[in-house]
């Protein structure tokens, strides 16, 4: 490399660095006429498939709401940056947005980051948060007063599944047997204690409990264990797609006819399409309606907005719906505070959230949502319909 070339490279790097540092947006704190929502989203990295859709859902809701008059006349502003699903990067993002934009609400990528930023955000006394995670620990009103879940906890979802299994087996003399297959992660383990407790209460025998890695698993030994246990139902927790299709394929090859079920993040198109390709009808619990559901006016609005503004989008994912719903809850909290003439402080926003005991989400959550416990504890079973190639309701809405 010649000296001239080296200098040019160094100059280019310097110019690029200056662009980042000097060209950075100046401090732009929340103006009184606007409400800022911060976002620490995993736009790159292992969970980017979810982060990009959630970011789009929340961003689109803000744009739609502003186009429809905002919140009590005040505009929403959404500021988000990429966390890469890394705690260090996420903490930097949260602190940066907190310092420059002074948001009243924050969408945070997952449990590790929610926990790592909890003390600071709670201490600020000015922000309410939600996240992708449905972990039980984040729905604790006493230790996490600033946080809520835009859906049920994983445990509550398992309770809904157990309720469904118990109700459908009412006529039968023996209760169906259940196997729990879950990943060795917080996402996988979190709902299991509640699942087992509810099963015991309802007299449903848990005949196998299998823990695997989150992905890239050789499932043959686990399928052998399942075959020995002969469960009527196998519930998967802590996976999005892989290794569920591989499990089901090997289970069918082994002659097992168990019904396979999942919870929220494994209920998206990628999973049910992968299983449908094998002739399987995937089933599980969903806290929200699917986009094709005609009964929800919020879903109709969402469909209309997406078809107009994202013409390339063929399918509205669960992650997008989750982001949209998070935006709706943030707006409702702000609206209630403004109408009560109260500033957007944590105690006021928490009180507003807890007053949402019968909140109409426009049918998105089926039943009117009760957020008084900082989560929405309802859901419905859906099953894949091979004729329509869609997920169809398999039960009514169940609240636990």
């Amino acid at each position: 490399m010649t000296n001239q070339m080296r200098r040019k490279i160094v100059q280019s790097i310097g110019a690029a660095a200056s662009l980042g540092v000097l060209g950075a947006r100046p401090s732009f704190a929340q103006a009184p006429s606007e409400i800022v929502i911060g976002g620490a989203q995993p736009l790159t990295g292992i969970f980017s498939f979810a982060g990009v859709a959630m970011h789009a859902g929340l961003g689109d809701y803000v744009a739609w709401r502003n186009a429809n008059g905002g919140v009590s006349g005040r505009k929403l502003r959404y500021v988000a940056e990429d966390t890469g699903f890394k705690v260090d990067q996420g903490v930097a993002v949260v602190k940066k947005i907190m310092a420059t934009d002074k948001p009243s609400f924050f969408y945070i990528d997952g449990t590790p980051l929610v926990k790592a930023t909890a003390q600071d955000l709670r201490g600020s006394g000015t922000v309410m948060t939600t996240s992708t995670s449905c972990a039980q620990v984040l729905a604790d009103v006493n230790t996490m007063p600033q946080h809520f879940l835009a859906g049920p906890t994983y445990g509550a979802m398992h309770e809904i599944l157990m309720e469904y299994i118990a109700r459908t087996a009412k006529a039968s003399t023996t209760k169906p047997t259940v196997a729990l297959v879950y990943s060795d992660s917080e996402f996988g383990r979190d709902g299991i204690p509640a699942s087992k407790a509810r099963a015991e209460k309802l007299g449903i025998p848990i005949v196998a409990e299998i823990v695997t890695k989150q992905a890239g698993v050789d499932v043959a030994p686990e399928v052998a264990r399942l075959r020995r246990a002969k469960p009527d139902v196998v519930i998967f927790q802590g996976y999005v797609v892989s290794p569920i299709p591989e499990f089901v394929k090997q289970m069918r090859e082994a002659g097992m006819s168990s019904q396979v079920m999942g919870t929220i993040w494994s209920m998206d198109k990628a999973t049910y399409d992968a299983l449908a390709a094998m002739g399987e009808s995937w089933m599980g619990v969903m806290p929200y309606r699917y986009p094709h559901d005609p009964e929800s006016k919020t879903m109709a609005t969402m469909r209309e907005y997406v078809s107009k503004n994202r013409p390339d989008t063929k399918h509205i994912s669960i992650f997008y719906t989750h982001g949209w719903l998070a935006g709706m809850i943030f707006s409702e909290i702000a609206d209630r505070c403004i109408k009560a003439n109260k500033p957007l402080t944590l105690p006021n926003m928490k009180a507003a959230l807890e007053s949402m005991k019968d909140w109409d989400s426009g049918g998105l959550t089926g039943l009117n949502a009760d957020l008084s416990r900082h989560q929405i504890t309802s859901g419905r079973l859906y099953r894949y319909n091979t004729a329509t190639k869609q997920m169809d309701p398999a039960s009514g809405w169940i609240r636990v």
Binding site: G20, V21, R25, L43, A92, K95, T117, T143, R189
Partner: protein, 347 residues
């Protein structure tokens, strides 16, 4: 124009900062750093705190791997041991300075246990042994629920000093950089002692070192214990800084992060640890900032630039390894400093 330092005594040559100019610059730098909480934004301070903690951990790995040549792939797990120790001691009201020392000490003991196979195996084989330790320890972090809180993690009470709570990044900054200063000085001094020279002898040719009278058992384990002590303290600091942590943080990826930091920064050099930790933390942030800023002028470009940031980061590391295999510290010493010394002339 200053072109070099003329040493008249051995003591003068052995000084950490061997010229007046160097001492003045160091004082200016220390002053600027000390005043950072007064003028830095919350974001800058958060990044500075994270970098500081990574520097402490990288200094430790540079002793084990850089100076002594024992590849450790369990550094993140050692940090985890330190973090959980601090979390437990904080629950019992143990002052942070004792908790941090205890975290370092316990991690050092575990480091010695992990380092024991180094007597029989070395190189890649030993690296695999440390990899096993990484997985065993992270398994314990997830499974030993009564102690670690399991996958849900654990909360760590804020440290206090004489009733004064060290909360917020501005206060944590001083605690973290006090440790950075202390450990950097300790590392630099260690390199000038018999122990430090024995470490290097073990790294360069252990058989020759043994013939020269270096006790391999003692020094290999000592290197592991020292590096682990640093990791334990860094783990304690990360616990205090975040206030809550889950086992996911102490992943194998973090161990690789530190290994990359010492390679990029410069193996076996204190400055290498510091520059490596800064590079590995700051450059991804810078690339993200560039992507974010660009998206304000060209909407939608962030979707393209953000994933590309990781590619650029990887290419930068490869570039450094090819063009400056001795790391950033060598780049600083041999090029930047020399440029200042000889300007307007060139070598």
């Amino acid at each position: 124009m200053r072109i070099g330092v003329f040493h008249e005594t051995y003591a003068s040559e052995e000084r950490l900062w061997d010229s007046r100019t160097q001492r003045i610059w160091m004082a200016v730098f220390a002053l600027a750093l000390f005043a950072l909480p007064l003028y830095g934004s919350d974001y800058v301070l958060a990044i500075a705190c994270i970098i500081g903690i990574h520097i402490v951990a990288t200094l430790g790995l540079n002793i084990t791997t850089g100076s002594t040549g024992q590849i450790s792939l369990s550094h993140a797990a050692f940090m985890g041991v330190g973090c959980y120790t601090v979390a437990w001691l904080a629950r019992w009201g143990v002052p942070f300075y004792i908790a941090l020392l205890a975290a370092g000490a316990l991690t050092a003991v575990i480091g010695v246990l992990v380092g024991l196979p180094s007597l029989r195996v070395k190189g890649l084989y030993f690296a695999i042994a440390t990899l096993a330790a990484q997985f065993i320890l992270t398994f314990l972090f997830r499974e030993w629920v009564p102690v670690t809180g399991g996958v849900g993690g654990i909360t760590i009470a804020r440290p206090t000093l004489f009733g004064f709570e060290i909360s917020g990044d501005r206060r944590m900054f001083y605690l973290i950089y006090f440790c950075v200063f202390l450990f950097a000085i300790a590392s630099a001094n260690l390199a000038r002692t018999y122990i430090g020279r024995a470490f290097v002898a073990v790294r360069d040719r252990d058989i020759s070192a043994e013939i020269l009278g270096v006790n391999l058992l003692r020094f290999k384990l000592l290197a592991f214990a020292t590096g682990s002590f640093y990791a334990g303290v860094a783990g304690g600091l990360i616990g205090y800084f975040y206030g809550a942590i889950t086992p996911d943080y102490f992943s194998f990826t973090l161990s690789v992060f530190y290994l990359a930091a010492i390679i990029v920064g410069g193996m076996g050099r204190v400055l290498g640890s510091i520059l490596g930790a800064i590079f590995m933390t700051f450059v991804p942030e810078l690339l993200r900032a560039i992507a974010h800023t660009s998206s304000e002028w060209l909407p939608g470009i962030a979707n393209l630039l953000l994933p590309m940031g990781q590619v650029v980061f990887g290419l930068l590391i490869i570039g450094f390894l090819i063009f400056e295999p001795h790391g950033l510290s060598q780049l600083w010493s041999a090029r930047v400093r020399r440029l200042f010394h000889l300007w307007p002339f060139k070598t």
